[in-house]
Structures are given as C-alpha cells and as structure tokens.
C-alpha cells in the first residue's frame, strides 16, 4: 500500500447560513488504526462525519479516500468506494429482519441489475445466497446470530447498535465511520463494543469514531483528533491529548 493515510480531509468547511459548523478542518487517518474525533458539544464532529460520508454537502475543502479525490460524492458512491458508517441514532430498516438489514449493506458487492432481479437468474440466486451466508457470519461475529430472523425493531437498543456495526461490516469496507457508538449503551455493552472495535482493527479495517465517552475513547483509540468550534485544535496519542493544556481549556471552558 503506497498511501499510508486512508482518509485525508483538507480545509473542510461547512456553513449553515451565518454559522460555520466546520471551519477549514484538516486531518488525516492512518490506515489500520482506530482514530477518534473528539471535542466539546457543537465542535462540528457529527457535521464532519456527515460531510465526509456524503450526507451533507460541503461548503469548501476536499476529501480524499486512499489518495483519490472523493469530494462531493453521494452517500451511496462513498459506500461503493469502501467507506461505511453508523449513526448516532441508528438508521436501521425497521421493516426488515436483522439478516435482511445486513444483506442491504452488501449492495456495493455483486450485481444490482434490474433485469437479473426481474428474471431471477441462476447467477443472481447463487450470489444472493452467498450474501445471506456472509450476513450470518457477521452476525455471529458480533454475537447476534440468534437474532437473524427477527424484525430489527424487536431488538434491544444495545443489540440494534451492534446490528448496525454488523451491517457496516457486511459491506466489506476499508474504513468505518462511527458516530457516538457507545452512547446509550450499558457498561457491559460498552465493553463488548470495545472488543468488537479492536477486532475490527485487527481485521485491517480502519475506524474513525466520534465519541463523548472519554474513558472509552482513551482506552480504545490509538490516535485522537480534537476539534473546537469547528476548527482543528490538537492531535496525538491518548496520553498526549489528556496532558494537553489547550484541550483541557476547551473542554472546561477556560480561556
């Protein structure tokens, strides 16, 4: 791999009317790491994720995926380039079963020809069988194999979060963006999430997460990027960030 940074964001800006939510933000994410994006409320973390993943249009700046320009791509095009994401409020498909939720996420793999679907060709049948099986493997991976046939709405909140993690994995991504994955989880569930994230990284998938839960961030991420008021404030390993005076000031609100 020639490019050590899987994601690089250059001068990213997003304005809402007169409000600048993200202001000339530049940072990079190294391939195969867990990187956390932190900052006080309103720092622009979620907006940053939304712009990178093609959900919110940018006002300025550029986004590169593995060195290739990925600015202004739609969310589904970003997904096809190998970037998948989760949401602070899980965006799961309530009319589908847990397994079907994962099968939807395989959309970037194989054919989505309408003609093949309409005539249900042998190749399509075989392919879809394969997607169902790989969905089951990912469910097993996060400990939800027993829920595969259940409507996703019948799961507990913690299980829905985990199903959403399994769903991003089903798209075989190179990088995963996660928005507040630990919010609303019990302590035990947070521990499970942590071990799943470490296994994801060990499977050579890069993780970029936005998170409020500082103990979780400090024990899980290898690299931390701090935002304040839409701007880059600091970056470094968790220990360095914890010791950084500017970061403390931003969080505690001292000038």
């Amino acid at each position: 791999m020639t490019e050590p940074h899987i994601l690089s964001v250059e001068g990213l800006t997003r304005r809402y009317g007169g409000v600048v939510a993200v202001d000339g933000l530049t940072f990079k994410v190294r391939r195969g790491t867990i990187t956390a994006l932190i900052g006080p409320n309103g720092a622009g973390k979620t907006t940053t994720l939304n712009v990178i993943s093609g959900i919110t249009p940018r006002s300025g700046g550029r986004v590169f995926l593995s060195g290739e320009d990925a600015t202004d791509l739609r969310a589904d095009q970003i997904c096809r380039r190998g970037m998948a994401r989760t949401f602070q409020t899980p965006q799961v498909f309530r009319s589908l079963t847990v397994r079907e939720n994962l099968v939807v996420a395989t959309m970037r793999l194989g054919t989505t020809s309408i003609a093949a679907a309409a005539f249900r060709t042998a190749r399509l049948r075989k392919e879809e069988e394969g997607f169902r099986r790989s969905a089951d493997e990912w469910l097993d991976w996060v400990g939800l194999a027993h829920c595969a046939d259940r409507p996703i709405g019948s799961l507990s909140f913690g299980q829905v979060r985990m199903a959403e993690v399994a769903r991003v994995l089903a798209s075989k991504p190179d990088i995963i963006l996660m928005d507040e994955p630990a919010s609303g989880l019990s302590r035990a569930e947070t521990q499970t999430l942590r071990s799943v994230l470490l296994r994801i990284r060990d499977a050579a998938i890069t993780v970029l997460l936005v998170e409020h839960n500082m103990p979780f961030v400090m024990s899980t991420a290898e690299h931390v990027v701090v935002l304040d008021k839409g701007r880059f404030l600091a970056e470094g390993d968790p220990a360095a960030i914890q010791a950084d005076a500017a970061v403390r000031n931003a969080y505690l609100g001292r000038g």
Partner: protein, 330 residues
Amino acid sequence: MSAEQSRAFGRQILPVAGIGLVGVLPVLLGGSNSLLNIAVLIGIYFIVCIGLSLIFGIGGQLSLAQAAFYGIGAYTSALFTTKLGAPVLLGFCAAALTAGVIGWILAAPILRLRTVYLAMATLAFGEILITLIRENRGLTGGSTGLLNLPAPAVGPFAFDTPLSYYYLVWTVALAAAWVARNIIRSRIGLGLRALSDTEIGAASCGVDVARFKTWMFTLGAVLAGIAGALFVHYITFISPDSFSVSFSILMVMILAIGGRDSLAGALLGAIAVTVLPILLASYDRYSELIFGVLFLAAVMFLPNGLAGAGSSLVRRLTVSARSSGERASD
C-alpha cells in the same frame, strides 16, 4: 413448521395454486360473460396495482400518476391501431414503451419530492395529461374519444370474446406478478424497503436511491400503460373519463384495502373494489355509503390490509395447531 419453512412453502404453493385457479376459473364461473367481464377488470386493476405496490407499497413513494400512465398506454395503442392501422399487439408494445419512456423522463425531477408533495406533483401530471387529451380533438377525439377499437389478434385468432380476453389479461397479469415477485425477493426489493424506512440509512449502505426509485416508477408506468391498452381494446372505445385522478385514487384504495406490501394484497384489493360495489348494488342509494364505511373499517382495523389479516390468521392457526399437536403428543 418454522416461520421460514411456512414462508418457503407458501412461496412454492401460492404461484402454482394461482396459475391453476386462473386456468379453471372460467369453468367455475360457468362461462358466464358478465362474471368473466368482472374477472377481466380485476386482472387489469391487478396489473396496475402490481406496479403501484412496487413504487408505493414496497418503495414508500405515494404516486398518483398511475391513471396518467394507464391513459398514455391506452391512447398510444388506440392511436397506433386506428390512425396507423397497426396490429393491436404492436399497439400494446408501443403502449408499454411510450408509458415507460415518459415515466423514466418524469422520474428524475419528480422523485426528488417526497410524501404529499410527490402525491401532488404526480396528481398535477395526470391533470395536465387529461387536459392535453381533451383539447387535442383532431387526434384524440376530445371528450368523445375514439370508437371501434379493434380486438387484438394472433394470426387468424382474435381475442374478441370475454373468455379469450380473460386468458390474455391474466397471462399478462401472472407474468407481471412473477417479475414483481422476483424483484421484491431480490436485493433490489430489500433496498426499496430500506429506502422507504430511511433514505439516509439506505444510501449509506450503498443503495442508489434515485436509480432504484426511477426503475420502479418506470416499471410501474410500463405496467399501467399495458393495462390501459388492454382495457380500451376490451371495451372497444376510449374516452378521457377513464383516466381521471379518481382512477389513481381507486388504485391506492386497492392497496389500502388489500395490503400495500404484498402482491397478494394488490390482488385481494382489486377483487374487493370490483366485486363489492356489485354485491352492494341492491342497496341502491346506500351502496356507495356502505362501500365507504367498509373502506374506512378496513383501513382502521386492518392496517396491513386483507392480505396482512390473512397471513396473521394463518400464523395464529399454525401456532395453535402446533401447540395442540404438542399437547396431544405429551
């Protein structure tokens, strides 16, 4: 039998049973022409609603343009056969093609709208079309329409009796249902359900939302176009009254009564809106009132329509049969 097994069983049995029933129904109806007329009409409604259940039932996009595409197909075939003297089967192909192309062109701008805005825009499209038809008297015959449309024929064999037309319509309907069922079962079908739940979630999973919606809208337009052509060559005349907005609303009612997220729902709904008014005709002045009350009751008490109520009844019966079987074996 597990839920999965019973669903797989249903998937294998239902199509075979459906084809068998369509085959023998004329015998069961005793060859009565008036009953066959009703069966033809049900088949035509079913074809339109198969398309609507893909767009609206599965994809969640409330389109009121089905009447317009039904009319586009009907007029295309009528003009092809009367003005150009083309064979009717060619007229049917032209109907499907024209409706499909117009649907595809219209899809890109109109499907950016959602919910009630989409409904309004599709409704307006229908109104514009009706006006164009009424005002172009030289071509379309205006409000009077066109008379003496020929019957479709294959070589020397003409589909000019209710019985032969019944088989023609239902062959098309079963073929359309087969294609739609394949799509609903495929990943594209899952993607459609996904985007109707959350478009942002679906797009983030790689679902090309605009493309999926466009294809379903186009397919719905093609099916409505074919159904419209089948209809006018059956009644042998065409006038704009058949393609007003109330037809689109009737199609939505069919899905509301029958159940919007399955093909069985489209079929049951088509049967209900066709047969009920006939059964209620003896109540004379009150027939429409009773129909309205029954419609309200269906929407209020059967949120998933007749098909949903039927499948939950079957589920309950199999569960209670299984538990009583387990008790018996204890």
